[in-house]
């Protein structure tokens, strides 16, 4: 168009057919960032929101003050959880392709976020996840069959057929229901944390959104209430660089890190290498202790990469280079933890292969069980009467009538 527009448009760094270009990414060397006291004043730790907390160095060694010094066993459990998450994802993606479910979303490349964080928290801490946090269910031990039944909307679906696949919840496991609407869980987590504080309980709330979702009003709502009441909450932005087709610059990441929003609201902000299991674990522990001791909330930005498509409905080849994930400078979280364990002499390729096979069998067995309870297309199916329940605690007359009408309509 002829007009000389002066509007700034965020620029993607590479497009289909181009070389992936990650030169925009600002990082810090592993071990370079100091770990302040958990009670540090926000104004004294502004650097945490700009630097990048990293523990694993290029030689797979854990270095610096943020090293959480985890037991080898915990590292192995973490690796197992991440690998299981990945294998589960692959299998469910295939199931969708086979028409067994309507929809799926993988977290390829982001496994460390949910797994390391899940492990750094206490079982009674309340989790308000987004749709790409399946690792939390793995850490907290929800049987895969249960997750699969949700994906299948079958007779054992925890959501009774009401939700799109991946929108799990687990009351006893203290994992909140996932909404289809982005970011709504963020202020809810803050409210939950406020309630814990009001009641004098020391459980904390933790919530996750994508960097794209941080554009929604509820991001601001959560930040503000967390800051004003110093709510015991950890707010996570998983910056996987993409929101469907738009890169993180369209969410405000071009000018400044997302973690920097924290100090802007008078809240601690930490930018962490989201593919570094140890770093994610360490900052989560720090933030959890800060919250639990009444020193206030923390915003954590996880710098990571969305390895797969946005969802099974998406085709990333339309908007980014095919091989970009392989070029991501922060590597792959599973390989990095694996290599760290190998460097420690506590793991090997052989053991890794064996573990992978074991987990694959576990996933396959679970799937076999799950489909017995029905799939979206084949029976057994949930009773359609369930459609009218839980709109209200007690079914009002009007819904009772509609239920009858449906029964008549379907000739039951």
């Amino acid at each position: 168009m002829p007009r000389r527009s002066r509007l700034h448009i965020p620029q993607h760094h590479s497009r289909p057919g181009e070389e992936p270009d990650f030169s925009y990414l600002e990082t810090s060397p592993a071990g370079a960032v100091a770990r302040p006291d958990v009670n540090a004043r926000v104004r004294d730790i502004g650097n945490l929101s700009v630097d990048l907390v990293r523990v694993l160095d290029d030689n797979h060694v854990a270095v610096g003050q943020w090293n959480p010094h985890l037991e080898v066993q915990d590292l192995q459990i973490g690796l197992r959880h991440m690998l299981l998450t990945r294998i589960f994802d692959e299998r469910m993606q295939r199931a969708q392709r086979q028409g067994k479910t309507s929809f799926y979303m993988r977290c390829l490349g982001e496994e460390a976020v949910s797994v390391a964080q899940g492990m750094a928290l206490r079982p009674k801490d309340m989790l308000f996840p987004a749709y790409r946090n399946q690792g939390l269910y793995v850490v907290r031990g929800r049987p895969l069959v249960d997750l699969m039944c949700q994906l299948l909307s079958n007779t054992r679906d925890m959501c009774k057929g009401r939700q799109l696949p991946v929108m799990y919840h687990w009351a006893e496991g203290r994992i909140f229901s996932i909404s289809g609407n982005l970011t709504t869980q963020f202020p809810q987590a803050v409210g939950w944390a406020m309630a814990a504080a009001i009641k004098g309980e020391d459980d904390i709330a933790v919530s996750w959104i994508g960097e794209g979702s941080s554009a929604e009003a509820d991001f601001h709502h959560a930040m503000l209430f967390a800051s004003v009441y110093m709510a015991p909450v950890i707010l996570n932005i998983v910056n996987n660089q993409w929101a469907i087709s738009t890169f993180q610059g369209f969410a405000g990441g071009e000018q400044r890190s997302f973690a920097a929003r924290g100090p802007g609201y008078g809240m601690a902000g930490i930018r962490v290498d989201g593919n570094d299991f140890l770093a994610v674990h360490a900052v989560t522990q720090w933030a959890a202790e800060r919250a639990r001791t009444g020193a206030g909330p923390t915003l954590i930005e996880h710098v990571t990469y969305r390895g797969a498509a946005h969802s099974t409905s998406d085709d990333p080849a339309r908007y980014r280079p095919k091989d970009d994930y392989e070029k991501w400078p922060l590597g792959d979280p599973v390989s990095r933890l694996k290599n760290h364990l190998i460097a420690l002499g506590e793991w090997s390729e052989v053991r890794h292969q064996a573990l992978a096979r074991e987990l694959e069998v576990h996933v396959t067995e679970s799937w076999k069980e799950a489909v017995q309870y029905g799939t979206l297309t084949d029976g057994p199916r949930l009773n359609r009467d369930l459609m009218f329940q839980d709109v209200f605690k007690e079914m009002p007359e009007q819904l009772r009538k509609q239920r009858e009408q449906l029964r008549t309509e379907q000739g039951v």
């Binding site: 929108m167 909404s179 202020p187 409210g191 814990a196 709502h221 959560a222 709109v391």
Partner: protein
Amino acid sequence: MPQMNMIQALNSAMDIMLARDPNVVMLGEDIGYFGGVFRVTDGLQRKYGEHRVLDTPIAEGAIVGAAIGMGVNGLRPVAEVQFADYIYPACDQIFSELARLRYRSAGDFWAPVTIRTPCGGGIRGGQTHSQSPEGIFTHVCGIKVVMPSTPYDAKGLLIASIEDDDPVVFFEPKRLYNGPFDGDANKPAVPWSTHPKGEVPEGYYTVPIGKAEIVRKGSAVTMVAYGTMIYVCEAAAKALGIDAEIIDVRSMVPLDTDTICTSVRKTGRCLIAHEATRFSGFGAELSATIQEECFWDLEAPIGRVAGWDTPYPHAFEWEYFPGPLRVAAALKAVMEAA
């Protein structure tokens, strides 16, 4: 029995619930130290502390969002939205979250939040302090919607709302805070002490959600209304000398179709009145339902009388408000149709 105006009755309901249930908390703009811009929460923070009655930032969406989280964590939050005109920033949290949480989680999560908000015109509030948006909320399945018209009902319905495990949007017709008002702004103000339902028990009681009330028995026509319009309907029927049966809907969701339709079947005529804009207002649902249920008994078309389909203009408050003249004209039309 003590006399209370609607403000005192609402305050008493909250006082009682804060005392009875340690999980009841209040939150909203200016509701704490100050006691609310209409003084409905006066004294509650002093009595129950600033951890039970919370002043909040000015962010209606955040207030409801946080209240949901509190509700999920076992509290029973009562959120105030300072004016119903300012409830729209909270629409997403109300429609997508509060209303659907129980359903989408198959009953595993739910948040017993009550949202109180003053609505309606007649206080020279102009287009942003006079709205009646209740109709919008009645279309969203999963929330209950109520509006009292007397101090007695206000207290009983508010206690019932707070105790209800479903979310409730509780509209307070602010022109009724200090007395019944029949739409004639030139008459001297009438205090609640002149009204039988200005007598309000000190203690705990509930008025059940989901029940309409016949506030005047009659045989010639059924007038269906709620909030301020109850008094306008009474005045209009009286002015015309028509033996109207007047029904206070009180609970829009769930709607007491039985009480309403039984009356219309009896009288054969019906006029619906509300202050909200007419087009797609709650009157439309009332009319459609009544028509479906009572068609064969109707002797004349069901009438609707409402606010004009314009914003509420500051200078034309009384030309906008569906006052006794407009209601009487509509009533006459319903009576004379043949």
